[in-house]
Structures are given as structure tokens and as C-alpha cells.
């Protein structure tokens, strides 16, 4: 663990008892290594370490009794703060329906998470409509249909229409039938695919208010910063969802995405089944990232 590594780094100090600025800087090298190994983006790590260093070099640590604990404490606290101290919920629209858009790279878990979210919001008393707006992937519509059936939520589909048309029609349908939440599942797309980014932009701009969620795979590496940045520029992101946290990926991509977009992490995907959704816990994610 990070604590073990820092203890080892500071072991030679036990004879002298007091630590100096150089020792703190050496200790932070261990923190930097831990964050990079956890897939936090290079630049985000650099900025983070500099912030921690400013505080760690302060009077309290240098004259403190247990430098390891103090530094780990500062790192943990700053990490929790950077991740977003507390959970932020889905922002419900003042005038229903709330329109949620699932966006992200191919295979990140959008369709499955759409189902999980539908189940979660249904249990909170909402009338949810799932919308199959991925017209590209083979059997994507069928996948969402089956997911919807599993969570007993209606799935809206229209044959032979563009994703933008499907999205617009779905909201009209929701308004007519009294659904107060619409969850639009979209196709996976690369942030560098101009046409596809334009498409999801157009879906978002079709409505006055949307809750746009970027779905990110917890095993994403350094590229998280590129993906989050571009999705954040092209869309009005309202939240991030980190999926596949039931594995052993450290999840540093969450820190990168959060740092670069300033958008709150709202949920964590923790399983393949549709009950595998948890509200974001900054403390648990911070511990995991630090290993």
C-alpha cells in the first residue's frame, strides 16, 4: 500500500526523527508512482503532486511526529476533495421529463448502465422510459429491449430513423404518456469522430435541458484525459459514471476525467447484472486509487 511504501521511504529517518523538505519530496515520488500506476493521467498527477507538496512542506508535517501518516492523510484528503467530496444526484428537470443522455466510447457500458439507471430511478418512484438510439451496433436495440424487460421499463424504438429523430420522438412519447424520466442510450463513439460527435451534440441540443452523462470504463488508462476533455468540450456534461469497478482496475481515469471536466462523478457500475449500480463514494474511490 502507499502507507507501506512511504514508511519504507522514510525508514532511514527514524534515527534522526525529524523530516526535511527533501524527505517530503522523496516521499511524494512514491505518491506520484502510486497515482501513475493507478492510471491517473500524467499531467493530472503532476498538478496534484505540486498541490500536495505545497501543503506537505508546510510547518505541520515537518515538525510532526509521524510524517508517513501525515503525508498519506494530506494525499487522501486532497484526493477525496478533487474527486468531489460528496455524491451529487441526477439533476431532475424543473419541468418533466428529465432527459438523460448516455454518452461515451465503444464498450464502456452505456447500454447496461442505462438499464441500471432505469431500475434505480424506478425504485425511487419515477416513471422511466428507455430509448434505443443506437442504430449502428448489431442487435443494440434488441439488447436494450432485453435490458428493459429485465428491469420492467418500457423501451422506445422507431425503425428507420436517425438517432436525433428517435430522441425527439421519444420525448414527445414520454410527454404524451406521462413518463417523467427519459434515458437515451446512444452508440459508442470516438471523441475524434467528428460526425458522431456532431450527432450526439445534436441530440443534446434538441432539448432545453438534458442530464448528459459520460460513461467511462474504470480500466481506461492515460487516454481518459483526451476522451473526457473532448466530450466535455462538445457536450454540456452533467455527470460521469465509472463502470466495471467490480474488477481490480484502480480507476485513476475517474480522477483524470473529473480534473479535466470539473464534472461530478455520480455513479459507479459494480457488476454485470442490472442491480450493479452504486451512488458515487469519493472516499472509497480515493482509497482504491491510492492502492
Amino acid at each position: 500500500s502507499l502507507t507501506d511504501k512511504l514508511q519504507k521511504a522514510f525508514r532511514h529517518l527514524s534515527s534522526r526523527g525529524k523530516i526535511g523538505p527533501k524527505d517530503v519530496r522523496d516521499g511524494l515520488k512514491e505518491v506520484r508512482l502510486a497515482l501513475l500506476e493507478a492510471d491517473v493521467s500524467y499531467q493530472v498527477v503532476k498538478d496534484f503532486i505540486r498541490e500536495v507538496q505545497d501543503e506537505a512542506l508546510g510547518e505541520k508535517v515537518l515538525s510532526g511526529l509521524n510524517p508517513t501518516q501525515q503525508i498519506v492523510g494530506i494525499v487522501h484528503r486532497k484526493l477525496v476533495h478533487l474527486l468531489g467530496d460528496a455524491a451529487v444526484p441526477i439533476k431532475l428537470a424543473a419541468k418533466p421529463p428529465t432527459i438523460i443522455i448516455m454518452a461515451g466510447l465503444q464498450g464502456s457500458g452505456k447500454t447496461t448502465t442505462a438499464g441500471k439507471l432505469a431500475r434505480y430511478l424506478t425504485r425511487q418512484g419515477h416513471r422511466v422510459l428507455l430509448v434505443a438510439a443506437d442504430v449502428y451496433r448489431p442487435a443494440a436495440i434488441e439488447q436494450l429491449r432485453q435490458v428493459g424487460a429485465q428491469v420492467e421499463v418500457e423501451v422506445f424504438t422507431v425503425p428507420d430513423q436517425s438517432p436525433v429523430e428517435i430522441a425527439r420522438a421519444s420525448v414527445k412519447h414520454a410527454q404524451a404518456k406521462g413518463y417523467d424520466v427519459v434515458i437515451i442510450d446512444t452508440a459508442g463513439r470516438l471523441q475524434i469522430d467528428q460526425q458522431m460527435m456532431q450527432e450526439v451534440q445534436e441530440i443534446e441540443r434538441s432539448f432545453d435541458h438534458t442530464e448528459t452523462l459520460l460513461v467511462i470504463d474504470a480500466m481506461t488508462g492515460q487516454d481518459a484525459v483526451n476522451v473526457a476533455e473532448e466530450f466535455g468540450r462538445k457536450l454540456k456534461l452533467d455527470g460521469l459514471i465509472l463502470t466495471k469497478l467490480d474488477g481490480d482496475a484502480r480507476g485513476g481515469a475517474a480522477l483524470s476525467a473529473r480534473a479535466v471536466t470539473g464534472v461530478p462523478i455520480k455513479f459507479m457500475g459494480v457488476g454485470e447484472k442490472l442491480d450493479g449500480l452504486e451512488v458515487f463514494h469519493p472516499d472509497r474511490l480515493a482509497q482504491r486509487i491510492l492502492g
Binding site: L33, L36, E37, A38, D39, S41, Y42, L105, Q106, G107, S108, G109, Y136, R137, P138, A139, A140, E142, Q143, R145, Q146, V147, Q150, L190, Q191, I192, D217, A218, M219, T220, G221, Q222, D223, N226, V227, K244, D246, G247, D248, A249, R250, G252, A253, E272
Partner: protein, 277 residues
């Protein structure tokens, strides 16, 4: 260790940073740049471009040490077992590989042994129709090993030359799912009279350090014969495969560069090294 007389420290740091940003593990990035610094010192190389080039050549050598051809079985059918974690591109990659062999005139069969995920069988069905090849499937929630078994029996009867088995995405940390994969592998081996000709691990190029854990666990479970690195058409570099090469020696054989049937390439160490940084 830094403060070299003729090599610019900043330059070395930039190269190390470039490797890390490409998802090469920190330990390996440090090792490669230190090695580079020593070599540059010995050979009096100071030009930044020349240094970068030396590093690329080093990367290329690390990835050229193995045979990247896909194995053919001694008797028909040649059988590929496809595995990997969730969402990396297994099903799509199988379609691409099937298309490649089918276009070359081979009798190909896809096997829908992902009997768990919603519409997984439907997805492979669509691909089989597009490729124009055979598909063996059973009902959802059937035992995947049983589907594989039936498929191999059918393949022998039909004179199928290549069988490609799709399996459900599974996190390598899930003991029961890894045991299920081992069972599928054992059933295939028993039915073929030899291990599956390729146990192909599909990995997503956007994956970071977790990719090493994946490769290790899957390799331990079934003995991975090759890796296909997908989504290299993204901005991700897939540098984790360099660490995998260094630590596990598993060959990268194929690359996925898009969502269409023709978006399949043989792995090229040179091309990979040149796009890494």
C-alpha cells in the same frame, strides 16, 4: 542517475513522459529511457530526433521477437477460442476474423458461446449473416461449454475449416467465470484432441495498467497464444502491450482499427513503435 554530460535531462524526461502517456508502465518507461541514456552516452547521440528514433527501434525490437501468424490445426477444424474482459471487442473481432478467412475461401463457423449477456447471440447472428458464414447457437443461458462441444461436433460433420468461439466478457478477478472459461477450454481441447489452435485474448487499446493483470490471469487460465489489440483507431496508444511483451512474452498478433468487417490488420511492430509516441 540523471545529470548526463551530453544528454539533455529534459529530453530524456520528455521521452519517459511520452511512454507513460502511451500507457507503458512507469517501471518499463524508466528502464527504457535509462537504457537509452546510457547508449546515447556511449554512441555520442545528442540529436533529439535521433534519440527518439533509437527508442522507437528498441520498442520495435521488443515486439518483433515472436511469430505473429495464427496457428492452423493439424486436422480440421482449426479452432480459435476468443476471450477477454467485458466490452473490449471480442464479438466484433470474431466477425472480422471470420470475414477475413471466409473471403479467402475457407468454410468458417462462428460459435455463440456467450449465452449470458443480453442479445449477445443476436449480435453474433447479425455478423454471421453479414459475413455469410455458419453460426452455431443454442438458447440463452445454455452451458457455454455445451455450445462449444456441439459446434465442434457439427464442424467435423460439415467439413468446417475454421471454428471461432465467442465467449462472454468476464473480469479476470471473477473466480467462477474464469473457471467457466477453463471448462470451455478443456471441453474444446478434449473434443479436438489438442488444445485450441489459438486462445486469443482481446484487449482494448484504451486499457491502462489493468491490462497487465488481465493478460496474466487469462494466460494462467488457458495459456493465451496471442493478443488482438482493438480500438487502435482511437487516440489510445495501447502501450500496455509493451509491458505485457516484457513481462509475459505473449505475442500481439492482430489489431482492430474500427467497427467494420475490414477493420482488421496483422500486427506490425514497426507501425506500432512509430505511433507509440
Amino acid at each position: 542517475l540523471r545529470g548526463r554530460s551530453i544528454i539533455d535531462d529534459d529530453l530524456l524526461e520528455d521521452l519517459e513522459e511520452a511512454l507513460i502517456q502511451a500507457d507503458v508502465s512507469v517501471g518499463l518507461a524508466v528502464k527504457l529511457t535509462q537504457e537509452l541514456a546510457e547508449r546515447a552516452e556511449r554512441e555520442h547521440v545528442t540529436d533529439p530526433e535521433a534519440l527518439a528514433d533509437l527508442l522507437r527501434k528498441r520498442v520495435m525490437r521488443m515486439l518483433s521477437q515472436w511469430d505473429t501468424t495464427l496457428h492452423t490445426g493439424t486436422t480440421a477444424p482449426t479452432t480459435f477460442l476468443v476471450l477477454g474482459v467485458n466490452g473490449v471487442g471480442k464479438t466484433t473481432s470474431i466477425a472480422k476474423i471470420a470475414h477475413w478467412y471466409h473471403s479467402a475461401g475457407n468454410k468458417v463457423m462462428m460459435v455463440a458461446a456467450d449465452t449470458f449477456r443480453a442479445a449477445a447471440i443476436d449480435q453474433l447472428q447479425v455478423w454471421a449473416e453479414r459475413v455469410g458464414c455458419d453460426l452455431v447457437r443454442q438458447q440463452p443461458n445454455a452451458d457455454p461449454a455445451a455450445v462449444a462441444f456441439d459446434a465442434l461436433q457439427a464442424a467435423k460433420t460439415r467439413g468446417t475449416q475454421l471454428v471461432i468461439i465467442d465467449t462472454a466478457g468476464r473480469l479476470h478477478t471473477k473466480v467462477n467465470l474464469m473457471e467457466e472459461l477453463r471448462k470451455i477450454n478443456r471441453v474444446v481441447e478434449r473434443e479436438l484432441g489438442r488444445p485450441a489452435d489459438e486462445r486469443l485474448l482481446i484487449m482494448d487499446a484504451t486499457t491502462g495498467q489493468n491490462g497487465l493483470n488481465q493478460a496474466r490471469q487469462f494466460h494462467e487460465a488457458v495459456g493465451v497464444t496471442g493478443i488482438m489489440l482493438t480500438k487502435l483507431d482511437s487516440t489510445a496508444k495501447g502501450g500496455i502491450v509493451l509491458t505485457i511483451a516484457d513481462e509475459l512474452g505473449i505475442p500481439i498478433k492482430l489489431v482492430g482499427v474500427g467497427e467494420k468487417l475490414h477493420d482488421l490488420q496483422l500486427f506490425s511492430a514497426q507501425e506500432f513503435a512509430n505511433s507509440l509516441f
